[in-house]
């Protein structure tokens, strides 16, 4: 673990998660347009949207300081979390004991920041959106946590790097396969796409949590949402499907990008072919999945 590797992979991780995420969002919008037999926006559309929003006036609907600060917190914590995922190799740039707990905490902060913004914005639609987002987060975060803990029990270490190395060299066993399937089934809820975009339901509660945000703040929250999508796809592809892997870190980055594109394509297909669930249906789905994924911990403790 030399300094050069840490700097290179930190830069690459932040580049992929933060700077390439609008490109993936543009890809999503293009695919959705093609499914609906439209031409669709250009591939770089999301960059234009973000740049435009950065230059708009920042209207303040309230003087609450939480409303002013927490949109920026969401982007920053996404950037932090991106440093804990291995993209350039088997180990992430920040590799220390217990980083899976830090990862779960930081991932939760992203949602919490948006919930705080919505709760501080003094809009009834935002309150509904915030309460729905909180319920969704509370029900879906345990699935990812259980899956990571299953990996930790199997590898015998609380480092993400060790889990990935163990998984890469030992191959899948029953418990890891089970948790991989559970994470894949909860991926749509983790990235907040259509069957589970209940908190931002555009037609129903007018973008809910985002309704009072304007200008740079809205750009930050939108950017955080786009980056969250890439981040969770990376979590799935890099931690739960670490194959194939080469010696060269740049080739690893290209492999990761191809895998993420495939996962985003699948999730876009699910998004454009499905209706939105109600909050009680989504809670039922997530809690059933969480209970089901608990079995993977027992299987891991049994050693299979």
């Amino acid at each position: 673990m030399n300094t050069e590797f840490i700097i290179l992979s930190s830069v690459l991780n932040i580049l992929i998660v933060l700077l390439l995420s609008p490109l993936f969002d543009g890809f999503t919008r293009k695919i959705r347009a093609l499914i609906q037999s439209r031409v669709g926006p250009p591939l770089l559309q999301s960059y234009y949207d973000l740049l435009k929003l950065m230059g708009k006036e920042d209207l303040k609907s309230t003087i609450n300081p939480l409303f002013r600060l927490s949109p920026y917190l969401s982007v920053v914590s996404i950037g932090m979390a991106s440093l804990l995922i291995p993209i350039t190799g088997l180990v992430p740039p920040l590799n220390f004991w217990g980083d899976i707990f830090l990862f779960i905490y930081i991932i939760t902060v992203v949602g919490i920041a948006i919930i705080i913004t919505a709760s501080a914005s003094e809009n009834p639609f935002a309150y509904i959106g915030a309460s729905r987002k909180m319920m969704l987060h509370l029900s879906v975060e345990p699935i990812l946590a259980i899956a990571l803990i299953t990996g930790a029990i199997n590898a015998g270490s609380f480092k993400i790097g060790d889990i990935v190395s163990w998984y890469y060299s030992n191959g899948p066993n029953v418990s890891m396969l089970l948790s991989t399937v559970c994470v894949f089934l909860s991926l749509q809820a983790l990235i907040g796409k259509i069957p589970f975009d209940i908190s931002e339901a555009e037609q129903e509660i007018a973008e809910g949590v985002l309704i009072e945000l304007s200008g740079p703040k809205y750009a930050c929250v939108k950017w955080a949402n786009m980056s969250r999508q890439v981040l969770f796809c990376l979590v799935f592809t890099q931690i739960f499907i670490p194959w194939p892997l080469s010696e060269n870190s740049l080739i690893n980055v290209i492999i990761a990008l191809i895998k993420v594109t495939a996962i985003i394509f699948i999730s876009t297909l699910i998004e454009s072919l499905n209706p939105r669930l109600r909050i009680d249906q989504a809670l039922k789905y997530n809690l059933t999945l969480a209970l089901f994924s608990l079995t993977s911990i027992f299987l891991a403790l049994l050693g299979v």
Binding site: R29, V39, Q45, Y47, Y48, D58, E207, I211, S214
Partner: protein, 156 residues
Amino acid sequence: MSLLKKLAQQSLKKSVWIFHVNTGACNGCDIELLDILTPYHDIERFGMKAVSSPRHADALVISGPVTRPTVEFVKSVYEATPEPKIVIALGSCATAGGIWFDSYNVVGGVDKVIPVNLYIPGCPPRPEAIIFGIAQALGISKKKIKPLIAEQIGAE
């Protein structure tokens, strides 16, 4: 800082988000506005989309004559939209009051209440006319009519 502002101004032309305000229209213009979101016309290829909150909008599309009960709402929607913004009056009623120009309950066109940048007349205007009007306002396409010059009004 100025570079970011320049980039923001340039990308404003490529992504205009529309908020639709109905100030008492008969729904004719509203249905024509919904037509431009359909796959046939597909306004998203210009980066435009309809948003559900005026705080996200760049363009306010106002249809209908401004009736007395809605005057305050039109003003507050205008204030709730962040700068830079354009206001588009859609249809004959929004342009000048239409057939309700002297009705007791109608203030008049939208320009009596808030400043208007673009008028799209018609009862209702065709979806092509709406897209053409917005494209003109953004500078994507040029005006097709000649400017009013002396020979047109016969004054040599």
